[in-house]
C-alpha cells in the first residue's frame, strides 16, 4: 500500500495545478487564522483595558459618593465574555452578539438590549475566519481537486489503459484520493495547528476539530467521486458539484432562516428596551405607593419600607427601576424563548446542510455560538440580581451602610470555561 501512496505523492507533486491549489488553500487558511488571532487578541486587549478603566471608574465613584443609592447609580460594573482559546478559529456569533456590557444597578433589560456592536457593517458581512474557510471555501478547493479525477483521464484517453494496468482499484484511485486528501487537509489545517499552538488550545479540542474537518472533507470528496463516476464531462461534473455547494452554502441557510423567522415570532430587542424605559419614565408621574406596591409584590421582605419624604428617594428610584424590569419581563422572556427555539430549529436545518453543520460544530466547540451568547446574557442577569440583592438591604431596610460594606459587592469574573461572579473576600 505504501508504495502506491508514495508513487501517487510524487506524481501529485509533478502536477503544477494541484500545487497551485494547495498553495491557495494554505494561504487562505493562514490568512483566516491570522485574522482570527488578531480579532481575539483585540477582544482580549479590549477586555483588559476595560477592566482597568472599570476599576478606576468605580473607585472614583466610591470616593465621591457616600449614599448607597448614589454609589449604585454612579458605579458601573464590567461584564464580559472572554473568548475561549479556540475562538480564533471560529469567531461565530461574537461579531453579532455583544460580548461586553457595563451594567449599573438600574433597570437591566434596557442595558442588555442596547447592542454594543462597534461596526454593524462588518458584523453583517462577517469575518473570514478559519470556520468560514473550512465550511464555505474548502469545498471549492475539494471540488477543483477531485471533480475530474476520472474525467480528466477519460478525456485524455488514459482511463482504460490505467484501469487495465493497475493491480487494484486502491493502487490507482484509492491512493490518488488518499494522497490528495492528505495534501489538502495539511495545507488547510496546518495554519490552524500553528494558531492553536500560539493560543494554547487544548489537545482534545484540536483533535475534535481536526476530526470534524476530516469528515467534512470526506463528505465532499465522496460526493465528487460519486458524481465523477456517473458523468463523463469534467465541466458538467464541476457544475453539478458547484450546484450542491451553492445549495448547502446559500440556499438551505437562507431558506432555513426565512422559514424559522416566519414560523417563530419574537419581540424585538428595541421593543423590550422601549417598554422598560417607558415603565421607568412613567413611574416619575405615578404615586410613589403604586410603584412600591409593585416592587414589594416581588420583594415582600421590604414591605415595611417607608418613603421618607415626598421628594426624591433612592429606595423609590431603585424600586421603579426594578418595576421597569418587571413590566418588560414577559417580553424579555418571550424574546429569550424565541431565541432558544430559533436556535433549536436552526439545529434541525443544519442536518440538511453539511456546511451549516460543521459551522455549528466548530462554533459550539469554540463557545462562540448563540448558546454561548445566551449563557453570557444569563450570567449578566445573575450578576445583576446579586448586585441588587447586595444593595437592597442598604436601600430598603434598616441595615446600616458604611463604605467598608462595598467589599461585599459582587465581582464579575470571566474565564474561558464560563463566566462566574463572586463577592470580594469570600
Amino acid at each position: 500500500m505504501n508504495k502506491h501512496l508514495i508513487r501517487e505523492w510524487h506524481f501529485m507533486l509533478r502536477q503544477s495545478y494541484v500545487l497551485v491549489l494547495l498553495l491557495c488553500g494554505f494561504l487562505i487558511s493562514s490568512f483566516s487564522v491570522l485574522t482570527g488571532l488578531s480579532e481575539i487578541d483585540s477582544q482580549r486587549e479590549t477586555i483588559e483595558r476595560l477592566k482597568t478603566a472599570d476599576q478606576l471608574d468605580r473607585a472614583e465613584a466610591q470616593d465621591k459618593h457616600n449614599a448607597p443609592g448614589a454609589l449604585a447609580y454612579y458605579s458601573f460594573h464590567l461584564t464580559y465574555s472572554a473568548p475561549s482559546n479556540l475562538a480564533f478559529a471560529a469567531l461565530g456569533e461574537r461579531d453579532i452578539y455583544p460580548w461586553k456590557h457595563r451594567v449599573r444597578m438600574l433597570a437591566l433589560e434596557g442595558q442588555i438590549y442596547e447592542s454594543d456592536a462597534q461596526n454593524p457593517e462588518l458584523a453583517q458581512a462577517g469575518k473570514i475566519d478559519f470556520a468560514f474557510v473550512i465550511s464555505a471555501l474548502s469545498p471549492l478547493l475539494l471540488i477543483l481537486l477531485f471533480h475530474d479525477l476520472f474525467a480528466s483521464e477519460r478525456a485524455s484517453g488514459r482511463h482504460e489503459l490505467l484501469v487495465t494496468t493497475t493491480e487494484s482499484s486502491f493502487a490507482l484511485w484509492g491512493a490518488r484520493v488518499v494522497v490528495r486528501l492528505f495534501a489538502i487537509f495539511i495545507s488547510l489545517i496546518l495554519p490552524f495547528y500553528v494558531g492553536a499552538l500560539i493560543n494554547n488550545v487544548a489537545m482534545t479540542d484540536v483533535l475534535i476539530l481536526s476530526l470534524w474537518c476530516l469528515l467534512y472533507f470526506i463528505f465532499w470528496i465522496a460526493l465528487s467521486l460519486l458524481i465523477g463516476r456517473r458523468e463523463s464531462s469534467a465541466p458538467r461534473i464541476a457544475s453539478i458539484l458547484i450546484g450542491f455547494w451553492a445549495l448547502f452554502t446559500f440556499v438551505i441557510p437562507i431558506l432555513g432562516d426565512l422559514a424559522i423567522n416566519q414560523s417563530i415570532h419574537s419581540p424585538q430587542g428595541g421593543e423590550i428596551l422601549l417598554t422598560q424605559r417607558e415603565a421607568v419614565n412613567d413611574a416619575w408621574d405615578l404615586p410613589v405607593q403604586t410603584t412600591l406596591n409593585a416592587f414589594t409584590a416581588t420583594h415582600p421582605e421590604y414591605i415595611g419600607y417607608k418613603h421618607e419624604n415626598e421628594g426624591f428617594d433612592w429606595g423609590w428610584y431603585y424600586a421603579f427601576q426594578q418595576v421597569g424590569d418587571q413590566v418588560a419581563e414577559p417580553l424579555s422572556i418571550r424574546y429569550r424563548e424565541a431565541a432558544l427555539k430559533k436556535h433549536q430549529r436552526a439545529s434541525f436545518v443544519t442536518l440538511l446542510s453539511p456546511t451549516l453543520l460543521i459551522q455549528k460544530k466548530m462554533t459550539r466547540l469554540a463557545e462562540t455560538d448563540a448558546l454561548a451568547a445566551m449563557a453570557y446574557e444569563r450570567r449578566i442577569r445573575e450578576f445583576h440580581k446579586t448586585l441588587r440583592m447586595t444593595y437592597y438591604p442598604w436601600l430598603f431596610s434598616a441595615d446600616k451602610f458604611n463604605k467598608s460594606n462595598l467589599d461585599l459587592l459582587p465581582q464579575f469574573d470571566s474565564t474561558t470555561s464560563g463566566t462566574t461572579y463572586s463577592r470580594k473576600n469570600e
Binding site: K3, H4, R7, F11, R14, Q15, S156, G157, R158, E160, L161, L162, V163, T164, T165, T166, E167, S168, A171, L172
Partner: protein, 244 residues
C-alpha cells in the same frame, strides 16, 4: 508469415452479443486467436471493433455469449484476465508532463511490477525509441514515439496477450513499418495479438488472420498461407464490397 502457430487458444469470442443502451453492437461474434498468432479484426466505422476490444478488457458486459482470455471468462475473472493482457489504446496518451522512463515506471508500479533501469532501457532499445528522448517529457514526442513508449510498457508488463486498438492510426509510413516489424517480433517470441483496425493494408502486412467485421457480425475470415502475407487486394475487395 504463417497460419495459426500453435493450437492453444488464448483469445476466444463465443457467440458474443453486446448491447449498448438499446442498440445491439455485437451480434453473435465468434472467433479464436491461438497462441503466437496475430489476429486483425477489420471493419469500418461502427462495425463493433472497439466494442469487441472493450468487452475483452471488461468495460462492456456481454448480454449473451462470452469472451475468454486464456480460458478465463472475462466477465467473471476480470482481475486475472487483466494481468494476462497488455492494452495499447488508439491514442497512446501517457502523461505528457512525465518523461518516457517516468511514464513507464509509473505504470509498472501501478501494475505492481518492479523493473530495473537497464530492463527499461533495453526495452526502449527494442522498440527503437531514440536514446536522447528517454529523459524528455512526452509532450515533446511525436505520435510514433508515444506509441513506441506505450509498446515498451506493454512489453515490460510481460503479458502474454496484447490487445491493440487501431495501433497504426495516425502514424507515418516509416513508423508503421517499424511498428509492424515490432509486432511481428513480439508474436515470434510467443505473444498473442488481437488488433482492431480499419487499415486493410496494415492488417494484411502484419496479421496471420483477418476477421472482417460488419455491423457486429463476422462476415469473413482471411488466413495467410505459409510464409506469405494475406492478399491485400482480396481483402480490400471484400471490405469494399461489404460496406453498406
Amino acid at each position: 508469415m504463417g497460419s495459426s502457430k500453435q493450437d492453444k487458444t488464448l483469445i476466444e469470442s463465443k457467440s458474443l452479443h453486446v448491447q449498448i443502451k438499446d442498440t445491439s453492437v455485437l451480434k453473435g461474434l465468434s472467433f479464436r486467436v491461438a497462441k503466437g498468432e496475430i489476429y486483425a479484426l477489420l471493419g469500418g466505422n461502427g462495425a463493433g471493433k472497439s466494442t469487441t476490444l472493450k468487452t475483452f478488457l471488461g468495460f462492456n458486459q456481454a448480454s449473451s455469449g462470452a469472451a475468454f482470455i486464456d480460458g478465463l471468462d472475462v466477465s467473471s475473472s476480470l482481475a486475472s484476465v487483466r494481468k494476462k493482457t497488455a492494452y495499447l489504446p488508439e491514442n497512446a496518451t501517457l502523461y505528457p508532463h512525465l518523461t518516457a522512463k517516468e511514464n513507464v515506471e509509473y505504470f509498472l508500479s501501478l501494475a505492481g511490477l518492479n523493473k530495473s533501469a537497464s530492463e527499461i532501457e533495453n526495452t526502449f532499445d527494442l522498440v527503437a525509441l531514440q536514446k536522447d528522448a528517454w529523459e524528455r517529457q512526452l509532450q515533446t514526442y511525436s505520435k510514433g514515439m508515444r506509441q513506441k513508449t506505450a509498446i515498451a510498457l506493454a512489453i515490460l508488463r510481460e503479458a502474454p496477450i496484447f490487445l491493440l486498438d487501431e495501433p497504426t492510426s495516425g502514424l507515418d509510413p516509416v513508423a508503421i513499418d517499424e511498428f509492424n516489424q515490432l509486432v511481428t517480433e513480439l508474436a515470434s517470441s510467443g505473444a498473442t495479438i488481437l488488433m482492431v483496425t480499419h487499415d486493410v493494408y496494415g492488417a494484411c502486412q502484419v496479421a496471420n488472420r483477418i476477421g472482417l467485421l460488419r455491423k457486429g457480425e463476422l462476415v469473413g475470415e482471411f488466413e495467410a498461407n505459409q510464409n506469405e502475407r494475406i492478399d491485400t487486394e482480396v481483402v480490400h475487395a471484400a471490405f469494399a464490397q461489404r460496406q453498406p
